[in-house]
Amino acid sequence: MSKNQTVEQRYLPEIQRKEIDELKTTVKGASQKIIADNIARMKKADSHRPDTMKYFDDIANLFGRRQQEIEAEKQKGKKIIGYLCLFAPTELISAADAIPVRVNSGWYDTSKLGDRVVPVEVCPVIRSTIGAKMIELSPFLEQSDALISVLTCDGMTKLSEILSDQKTIWGMNVPRVKDSTQSLRFWSAEIKHMKTQIETFTGNKITRNSLKEAITTSHRATKAFRRLQELRKGNPVIMGQDAMLVNQAYSWDDKKRWTEKTEALCNELEKRVQQKDWVCSPDTPRVMLTGTPMFWPDSWKLPALVEEGNPKGIIVADEQCSGERILNDPIGVDEWSMDDMLNAISERYLMASTCPCFTSKDGNEDRINWLLNKVKEWNIQGVIYYVLRGCMLYAMEYNRVKKALDKINVPVYYLDTEYTREDVGQLKTRVEAFMELLNARIDF
């Protein structure tokens, strides 16, 4: 609230300092409890969790170790650049010696605060992020010196405007038809502009070597990520929620350390595979999640329900921008020249994306192909289509996905929910019914 205090608040309500502090303490306390609770439940679901998961439990505490680390870096003069959408070129941020963190909010409590600014019909992720800003809850959002907001869905478009009351926001236009030369040209120009913006803001020039370094770092991370995904292909060795946490932790953790720890986790899991030490019975229905992103910590209610239910399922893959899509596509650099690296970055972020914000004459076939391929390769028996009420794009693509999956005889279950814990009981019934169905199908 420091530098913009005098600026007129165009969207956000004026709240007394005292009220902010009070709310923050309450919500933070509740959230810390939820994080601890989530981890406890994950431990309970898997009686002998891999030892390496300890590190990720530690990192999962949003108000703990990582926050202090970033604070220390900030004191040293490093800039923190947050991003609200996966399209933001994190490699450019790292190359300019700044720290990229994703600041989307997963707190249920703050979404109710967001209702004061935007109507309830708006996507809860947006409302929750606004609420988190209002009471200064999110450590990463508070620490970030600037935010990259990519204007993908309607929510994101206005969210950046609302947050600009208090933060420096850089918007990036995304072309909605991705499969055309002019779109790519436009997006490349956006990426190049973002590069200059980051350079001016941080005062560090993005050089050929620093960018190469950043790209190789993310290559290594992708390699570790793919190794983990490869391990989930066979009989289950890791709970889905654990793997999802690992994937999502990448968006706020230190990239190099994350890679090391994930490799260590994979080593441990490979040993388990040799010992045929499965995490649950290999007959457990194999489930894939798709749809709206699920942000740690509160949104873990669904994966927890799937893997704790009776009968239970195991999540082996997902297609969410909070999960596998973070790291699935590496940046394919042909020549390590500045020009080619920037082109490669623009292509990777635009063309490889399966976000439903794109429209195409073949009906967003990239996403369908991804899903079908995942179903085949990961041997998936059922798909849960998770939609938060208010997320138009995912909801509207449901029928397309359902028809495609019907063709290969894989059941899809449309599960809509809200940023609330009130429907947990109802969700439990619905999820268990679906698992029952999957079990019945396996038995036949």
């Binding site: 050929r208 793919r226 391990l231 394919g332 042909d334 490669a344 991804w370």
Partner: protein, 334 residues
């Protein structure tokens, strides 16, 4: 005579052995999967260059008409494999490319339309070239009308400087080539020969030298510029555009539609800017532009998405160049 023949065969065997040794050396030494094939190609191109010098310095020379027939027959089945992997002139351009990379200069792209026009232009160039003896005959009826002699006049006579434009064809199309021997090495390979033999200044020779210079500079700025209109690259692979010849190309790129995310890497890395691999949905890629250099297959980040097939068997698959983990077979469910 017999001894010479055995000697020649032995030299060829040595050359092949050298090639295989080079390939193995690269496979052992180069662990980076994103540039392994590129290095392999350099080895094969270098061996190809040596093989050409050797073939043209043979006494008695092999009747190159046979080479020509064999060459077209091979193109029919293998597409432009030769262009991507063997052609010594392409080797020169690839070395220029390396130099450019070392100097950190970026490459330029030709507009897609121009690229396509050049590709079609090569058919025009080769038609004109094949009709040239006829044109010569009309203007200046020679005493001897044998086609071979006419060709020789075109390639060695007063029109020599202008015929440079079809030069990479010379070793293949023409049953005779001018020879330039320094020491024991035959430098009849087009460009070297031309530069050394066209020093005396006449308008034609100035044209020739300017042409050589521009193509060399062009190849420095634009990757494989010559290959985009090289008349020697007239590919019978064009046949695979017609359904009747569907089975003819034995060597082709295949794309798995389901695994492709359309990330566009294949389009960007292609040295001759072929868009077909990216544009076509899946299955057998039909194109007569592609030289099968396999750069796209090498850099495709998704496993098994792009393949180069020989017949029905994949000889080279795109693999995750980030190195995948070892997949234990027994881990898979049944």
């Amino acid at each position: 005579m017999a001894g010479e023949l055995i000697g020649n065969i032995l030299s060829l065997i040595m050359l092949v052995g050298l090639g295989i040794a080079g390939v193995i050396a690269v496979l052992v030494w180069k662990k980076n999967r994103a540039s392994r094939v590129t290095f392999l190609r350099f080895v094969i191109q270098a061996v190809g260059l040596a093989a050409f010098f050797f073939l043209f310095s043979l006494e008695p020379a092999i009747p190159l008409l046979y080479v020509l027939i064999a060459w077209f027959a091979v193109t029919l089945f293998l597409g432009r494999f030769f262009c991507g992997w063997v052609c010594p002139f392409a080797f020169i351009m690839d070395i220029e490319n390396l130099l450019r990379k070392a100097l950190k200069i970026r490459y330029r792209l030709l507009p897609d339309k121009l690229n396509l026009a050049l590709h079609k232009g090569r058919y025009l160039i080769i038609t004109v070239f094949l009709l040239f003896p006829l044109i010569l005959w009309i203007f200046n009826p020679p005493p001897d009308t044998a086609t071979a002699i006419m060709m020789a006049r075109l390639l060695a006579g007063p029109f020599r400087p202008y015929s440079l434009i079809i030069d990479p064809l010379v070793p293949f199309v023409v049953p005779w080539t001018g020879q330039l021997i320094l020491g024991n090495i035959n430098f009849s390979y087009p460009y070297v020969a031309n530069i050394t033999s066209l020093i005396q200044a006449t308008p034609g020779q100035i044209f020739a030298i300017a042409f050589v210079a521009t193509t060399l500079i062009g190849a420095f700025l634009v990757r494989r510029i010559w290959c985009r209109f090289c008349p020697a690259g007239v590919s019978i692979a064009a046949l695979n555009k017609f359904k009747a010849f569907k089975g003819v190309p034995l060597l082709y790129i295949e794309k798995d539609e389901a695994k492709c995310t359309k990330c566009g890497v294949c389009k960007r890395v292609c040295p001759v800017q072929v868009n077909d691999v990216y544009d076509q949905k899946g299955g057998k890629i039909k194109t007569s532009q592609c030289m099968l250099c396999a750069r796209c297959v090498e850099l495709c980040p998704y496993e098994d998405t792009l393949k180069i097939n020989l017949g029905n068997k994949p000889v080279f698959k795109s693999r995750n160049w980030l190195e995948p983990s070892i997949i234990n077979e027994e881990r898979k469910i049944e």
